[in-house]
Point group: C2
Chain length 163, copies 2
């Protein structure tokens, strides 16, 4: 039973690692050159601080997720993992919220502020950003599950005594 | 000792309640009429979905924070509070990140997307939004502390046996 649970969380962590890494790759590779009237410009993630923040956080969580995969089951560091899962879940949530808020303005614009939607001009770029956000959202959900699971394991006094 | 800790967390929860409530009030009351060329417009929080989200989350957390103040110390619901603190910390983080991302565009603009900064036209509105975000940031930090504290209390087996 304990073995099944271990394999299950290992798989969950592996998928979470894949999603954060994919989010970074998709976001970084999103760039498109467009010409509006006489102005030519290149839309890329690094122009928007919120997208840069999204990439940095997902990259850090990818490295963390990769390292945790190789942590031995009996290691005392698993107690630290509860806290780190919490920190990284919060960071992922924060980064995807910021990126979503900006992507929403890119898609719909904000008429009162006079910010026009740009997705009609750079459709490919927008779709790629959307893809990165969807993958990022899956990773947030996975990290929330992982955090709840490690919290549950740590909170359960019976499991606590066994370890 | 236990009494001092209880008073301390009560105070922390009371301050957290005050900050979330203030964030709601400051954000809701932020509106300014401005005229640019021949166009007259009113900047208010409800034009921006990210600010609406910020207000809704802070209002929900205010109600939660108010109710928790009256929870008796021996109540079994304190175990639920650990989980709710986690959920609301994540929601607060998410809402302030989204609002910050939009406020940053309002202040600095985004030259590549052609979004002009609007804070020169509606300085009062911008300052009030900034105020709400600062108060909101304090409440995020307080809820993180409260969550860490309730997690610590729940994780500590000695405290667990005592309760």
């Amino acid at each position: 039973m304990a073995e099944t649970k271990r394999i299950f969380t290992f798989l969950l962590r592996f998928i979470a690692f894949c999603t954060t890494l994919s989010a970074v790759i998709i976001m970084i590779s999103s760039r498109q050159r467009a010409t509006v009237l006489v102005f030519s410009f290149e839309a890329k993630y690094s122009d928007t601080p919120a997208f840069k923040y999204f990439v940095i956080v997902n990259a850090i969580v990818s490295i963390y997720g990769f390292l945790v995969l190789f942590l031995p089951p009996k290691s005392l560091l698993w107690r630290l993992v509860v806290a780190l899962d919490a920190v990284f879940t919060i960071l992922l949530t924060s980064s995807i919220s910021a990126a979503l808020a900006i992507a929403y303005v890119g898609e719909k614009g904000n008429p009162i502020a006079g910010w026009l939607p740009i997705c009609d001009q750079v459709t490919k770029y927008c779709n790629q950003v959307k893809g990165a956000l969807i993958v990022g959202f899956i990773s947030v959900v996975l990290y929330m599950l992982l955090f709840l699971y490690s919290l549950h394991t740590a909170l359960n006094p019976l499991l606590l005594e066994k370890s």
